[in-house]
C-alpha cells in the first residue's frame, strides 16, 4: 500500500513538472519569439528599412547589412585585396592600395562614418579608417565601391579616425600610437617629449567627396583613441579621448593605466584654420600616397605628396584644451544637441559627461588646473556636468537616440545600458552575448538620430552559434529601443570584427544606387565600345588584349601568337547595358585573380603564361542560359616561335 502511494506521488509530481514545462513554452518564450521574429522579418521581395555599414576590423573591408533583418547585402573591399572581385588584383584597383610602404594587401578597418549636411546624414559617401598602415578611404554610396584612399603621414595606428564634421567640411584622423615626427632613429626610452601624436584634418571637396590633408596638429605623445565632432553650438570643435598620458612605452596595459584621469582633448578647428590662414604653421617634409579612382577612366591613380603643414599647439593659443576624464577613456561621444561630451572611462564603472557650454565658460574664466606641453588643462569641476554612476563595468562607447537618451556599451560586464541625458539616471540595461565593443544607432553620430534600433557589436560569441572549430564568428545584436525598455530582437554573425558601424534609412540612398556604367561614358584607356573595336596588340613582351563580353561570348574568343614569357593584359569590357548582368573572366594559371566586370565597365587582369599549349578562359559569373558555352582559347607558343598574333570570333 505504502509503495503504491509512493509511485502515485511520483507520477503526479512528474505530471506537474511536465505541465509546467508546457506552459513555459507556450506562454513566455514562444510568444516573445513570435513577437521578435515579426519585428525582424522582411518578407521575400521586400526591402529592409536601413542600410547598415559594419567595419570589418581585421578583414579590412566594409560589409553592408540590411536592418532589421540582418541580411548581408554586400562586402565592399576597401583595404584588403579581394580575389572574388579582383580588387587589388586588377590593374584598375591596384593603385588604390599604394602607400609609402609599397602596395599593402591587408588593412584593419575601423570606424565608418557617413557624410553629413547640416548635421544630418546625406548618404553621399562613407569614410572609413585603416588602423595599421594609416589610411582613410572614401566609398561612393552610389557605386558602393571604394573610390579613394589617402595615406595619413606622421601617424601610427590610425584609430581616432575617420569622423566627419556636420557639413562634411573635414574628415579627421588621429594617431593611436605616438611616434617621432618626423620619424628618426632614436632609443625607445627617449619617448617622453620626443614622440608626438598627430591629429589630421582632411578637407573634403563638397562636390565629389575627395579628401586633401589640409593640416596636422602635433600633440603631446599620448595615445589618441576615439573622436567625435561637435555639432550645433559645438560645431567647429573636435573632441578626442586620450590615454597613456603617462607616456609609457612598455607594458602599457599596466603603465598606461596609472593616472586616475587622462584627458579629452578639445580642438578648435575653426581656430586652426585661422592659424593656417595666418601662416602660423610649419611645413614638414614627408611622402604619402593619395589614391583616387577616376570614375571616367574607371582606373585608380596614385599621387605622391611630399609635404604637410603642421601646427604646434603650444604656439597656437586657444587651439587645444584638455578636459580631465577618468580612467583611460575610450569612447568620446557628442550628443545630438552638441552640448554633452561623453567620455567612457574603460577601466571604471562610471560614464563621465562634460558640458560644452561649461567648457566655454571655463576657458573664458581661465579655470585651469595646470598645463601639459603648453596646452591648458581645464579644471575637472569646471567642465564636468554629470556622471552616470556605477552603471556597469568597463564603459566603451555611447550612442544617442532622438529622445534625449544615451546608450553605453560596457565591455567587461557585457551589457548595454540606457540612461537619460541631464539626469544621468540609468533607465534600462540588457545583456549582450558577449563582451560588446561598440554600439550603433542609425544617425547616432549626427544631429538627427533615428531612434528605432541599436546595434551592439560583440567581440566574443563562444556558445552562441553552432561551433566552427577554434575560430568562431563575432556578432551583432539588434535591439528595439523604441520603448523605455530595450528588447533584443536579433543576433547575427558578422564579417571580420566590426569596430563600429553607421546606418542610414534606406530611402536616403537606395534610389541613387547606380544600376550600371554607361558604355558611352566609359573612357577607360583600353575600352572597346563594341566587338568591332577589339584587337590584340604586342608591345615587346607586353600583349594587350582588347576584349568584350556580351551574352554569351567573348570577342575575340581565340587568340594565337602568345608566347611563353609574355605578359598578357586582358582588358575586358562588358558590353551589357542591363541591370545585374556582370560577366567574369578567368584564365587557367593566372597568378592574379578573376575579374568581375559590371555592365559598361572595363577591367584589366594580367596573365603570364608559363607553359606551351592551348589554354582556355571562361566566364566565371553565371550570366545566362549559355554561360557554360562562354569560353575561349589562347594558344601559347614557345618563347622563340615566330607565330604572328591573330585573333578571331567565329572563323
Amino acid at each position: 500500500m505504502k509503495k503504491n502511494n509512493f509511485k502515485i506521488s511520483i507520477i503526479i509530481s512528474l505530471m506537474v513538472l511536465l505541465s509546467h514545462c508546457d506552459s513555459n513554452i507556450s506562454n513566455s518564450s514562444g510568444a516573445l519569439d513570435f513577437d521578435r521574429s515579426e519585428q525582424v522579418y522582411v518578407p521575400p521581395g521586400e526591402y529592409d528599412s536601413y542600410y547598415a555599414f559594419l567595419s570589418g576590423g581585421f578583414s579590412g573591408q566594409l560589409s553592408v547589412y540590411g536592418l532589421p533583418s540582418g541580411r548581408l547585402l554586400k562586402i565592399i573591399p576597401v583595404f584588403s585585396v579581394d580575389a572574388e572581385k579582383g580588387y587589388g588584383f586588377n590593374e584598375e584597383t591596384k593603385p588604390l592600395l599604394n602607400t609609402s610602404f609599397g602596395s599593402i594587401p591587408w588593412g584593419d578597418s575601423h570606424h565608418p562614418d557617413i557624410s553629413q549636411t547640416n548635421g544630418e546624414l546625406d548618404g553621399r559617401w562613407i569614410y572609413i579608417n585603416e588602423n595599421n598602415t594609416p589610411r582613410i578611404a572614401k566609398i561612393d554610396l552610389s557605386l558602393f565601391e571604394t573610390t579613394e584612399i589617402i595615406e595619413i603621414p606622421n601617424t601610427a595606428g590610425n584609430h581616432s579616425s575617420s569622423y566627419v564634421t556636420e557639413n562634411t567640411e573635414y574628415v579627421i584622423a588621429g594617431t593611436r600610437f605616438s611616434i617621432p615626427v618626423p620619424q628618426k632613429d632614436i632609443p625607445i626610452n627617449q619617448y617622453e617629449g620626443n614622440f608626438k601624436g598627430a591629429l589630421s584634418f582632411l578637407k573634403v571637396n563638397s562636390d565629389n567627396g575627395e579628401m586633401n590633408l589640409s593640416f596636422q596638429i602635433l600633440m603631446p605623445g599620448f595615445n589618441y583613441d576615439k573622436a567625435h565632432p561637435g555639432r550645433g553650438p559645438s560645431h567647429g570643435w573636435f573632441f578626442y579621448t586620450t590615454y597613456n598620458t603617462e607616456e609609457a612605452y612598455s607594458l602599457q596595459e599596466v603603465n598606461s593605466s596609472q593616472n586616475d584621469k587622462d584627458y579629452i582633448a578639445a580642438v578648435n578647428w575653426k581656430k586652426a584654420e585661422k592659424y593656417i590662414n595666418e601662416g602660423n604653421y610649419k611645413t614638414i617634409k614627408t611622402n604619402y600616397a593619395h589614391n583616387i579612382y577616376n570614375e571616367e577612366t574607371q582606373t585608380g591613380e596614385t599621387k605622391w605628396i611630399k609635404e604637410v603643414r603642421v601646427l604646434d599647439p603650444s604656439n597656437c593659443p586657444g587651439l587645444v584644451y584638455f578636459l580631465p576624464t577618468p580612467k583611460s577613456p575610450h569612447g568620446c561621444d557628442v550628443d545630438p544637441s552638441g552640448e554633452y561630451i561623453v567620455g567612457s572611462g574603460k577601466l571604471s564603472a562610471n560614464v563621465t559627461v562634460h558640458s560644452f557650454s561649461k567648457m566655454i565658460d571655463a576657458i573664458k574664466q581661465k579655470k585651469f588646473s595646470g598645463e601639459a606641453y603648453g596646452i591648458p588643462i581645464l579644471s575637472f569641476d569646471a567642465v564636468h556636468v554629470g556622471t552616470v554612476k556605477q552603471a556597469g563595468l568597463g564603459p566603451l562607447h555611447t550612442e544617442f537616440d532622438n529622445l534625449g537618451n544615451a546608450y553605453t556599451s560596457f565591455f567587461i560586464s557585457s551589457e548595454v545600458v540606457k540612461w537619460k541625458l541631464g539626469t544621468w539616471e540609468v533607465i534600462d540595461r540588457k545583456p549582450t552575448f558577449y563582451s560588446v565593443g561598440h554600439l550603433m544607432i542609425p544617425g547616432g553620430n549626427s544631429r538627427k538620430p533615428f531612434g528605432e534600433y541599436a546595434l551592439a557589436m560583440n567581440k566574443i560569441t563562444k556558445d552562441r552559434y553552432l561551433p566552427t572549430g577554434p575560430e568562431v564568428t563575432q556578432s551583432a545584436q539588434l535591439y528595439n529601443i523604441k520603448g523605455d525598455k530595450m528588447k533584443l530582437l536579433l543576433d547575427f554573425p558578422t564579417v571580420g570584427e566590426p569596430h563600429y558601424a553607421a546606418a542610414i534609412p534606406a530611402g536616403l540612398i537606395k534610389d541613387k544606387s547606380k544600376k550600371l556604367y554607361k558604355l558611352e561614358e566609359n573612357f577607360h584607356e583600353y575600352v572597346s565600345h563594341s566587338g568591332l573595336e577589339t584587337k590584340v596588340v604586342r608591345n615587346g613582351q607586353d600583349v594587350h588584349v582588347y576584349m568584350t563580353t556580351i551574352r554569351s561570348h567573348f570577342t575575340p574568343d581565340n587568340i594565337e601568337g602568345i608566347k611563353v614569357g609574355d605578359k598578357v593584359y586582358f582588358h575586358v569590357t562588358n558590353l551589357e547595358q542591363d541591370y545585374d548582368v556582370p560577366h567574369g573572366f578567368a584564365i587557367i594559371g593566372a597568378n592574379t585573380s578573376e575579374i568581375l566586370i559590371m555592365p559598361g565597365q572595363t577591367e584589366t587582369i594580367i596573365w603570364e603564361p608559363k607553359k606551351v599549349g592551348v589554354w582556355p578562359f571562361y566566364c566565371s559569373d553565371f550570366c545566362s542560359a549559355l554561360h557554360q558555352e562562354m569560353q575561349g582559347y589562347v594558344r601559347v607558343s614557345p618563347k622563340n616561335s615566330n607565330i604572328e598574333l591573330s585573333w578571331s570570333l567565329d572563323n
Binding site: 596595459e253 599596466v254 596609472q258 564603472a349 563595468l393 567587461i412 552575448f433 563562444k462
Partner: protein, 203 residues
C-alpha cells in the same frame, strides 16, 4: 554476528571507519571556487585538494589568473607549504585514529574527534587567510582599481563559503566531496565514542 558488541566490536569498527574516511581527501577535492559571468557560458572553477590546486575544466586556473591580473591579484601559486603539511597531518591523524581504534579506548575516540575538529578549523582559518590575502593585497598598479567612498581600494575577497558578486562575476565557494569524507570521519569517531561509552558504562 561479527559485529556482536561483546568486546565493543561495533565501536571499534566505527572508529576504524572514522580513521579511514579522511584518507578520501587524497582522491576528492576539499573545496571548489567557481566564477560565473555571462561571457563564460562554461564557468571557471578551481578545485582545492589536500595537496594541489586543479582546474575544474581544462586551463581554468590559467584563465582565472589572467582575469585576476586585471585587478592586481596575485597568481594562484603552483604549490603552497600547506600541500606538504596537510597531507602529512591527514596521514598521521588517520594512523593515530587507527591505532586508537585498535586500542579500543573510547575516551581517545573523543580526543581524536576533538583533535580532528581543531585541525579542520585551523585548515579553514588558513583558507580564509589565503583568501583574505588574495582579496586585499592587490597590486597598487592594478589596471582596474575601484575605490570606496573613503578612497580605499575595494577588495575582491572570494566568499569562504557561499556565493557573492565580485565585479561582473558571481563567485561560489563550497566544500566538495573530500571535505564531506573528512567531516563524516569526524562524525563517525563521535558515534564510535558514544557507542563505546554506552558499552563500557553498561558494563
Amino acid at each position: 554476528m561479527i559485529l556482536s558488541n561483546d568486546k565493543n566490536e561495533l565501536g571499534k569498527m566505527l572508529m576504524i571507519i572514522a580513521s579511514i574516511l579522511p584518507l578520501a581527501v587524497f582522491i576528492f577535492p576539499l573545496w571548489n571556487v567557481t566564477l560565473e559571468a555571462p561571457q563564460y557560458p562554461t564557468p571557471l572553477g578551481l578545485n582545492i585538494h589536500i595537496n594541489d590546486f586543479t582546474d575544474m575544466n581544462p586551463h581554468d586556473i590559467k584563465n582565472i589568473n589572467l582575469l585576476n591580473h586585471y585587478i592586481g591579484m596575485k597568481y594562484i601559486p603552483d604549490s603552497i607549504p600547506e600541500f606538504k603539511i596537510f597531507p602529512a597531518g591527514i596521514i598521521i591523524t588517520s594512523l593515530l585514529g587507527f591505532f586508537i581504534a585498535l586500542r579500543n579506548s573510547y575516551i581517545y575516540f573523543l580526543l581524536w574527534c576533538l583533535l580532528m575538529i581543531s585541525l579542520s578549523t585551523l585548515g579553514i582559518i588558513d583558507f580564509y587567510l589565503w583568501e583574505y590575502d588574495f582579496g586585499h593585497n592587490l597590486d597598487s598598479k592594478a589596471i582596474l582599481k575601484f575605490l570606496d567612498d573613503n578612497g580605499n581600494m575595494i577588495s575582491f575577497q572570494p566568499p569562504m563559503i557561499g556565493s557573492k558578486n565580485i565585479l561582473n562575476f558571481r563567485a561560489h565557494s563550497y566544500p566538495r566531496l573530500g571535505s564531506y569524507f573528512l567531516a563524516s570521519g569526524i562524525f563517525f569517531s563521535l558515534i564510535a565514542y558514544f557507542v563505546s561509552r554506552k558499552y563500557y558504562v553498561k558494563r
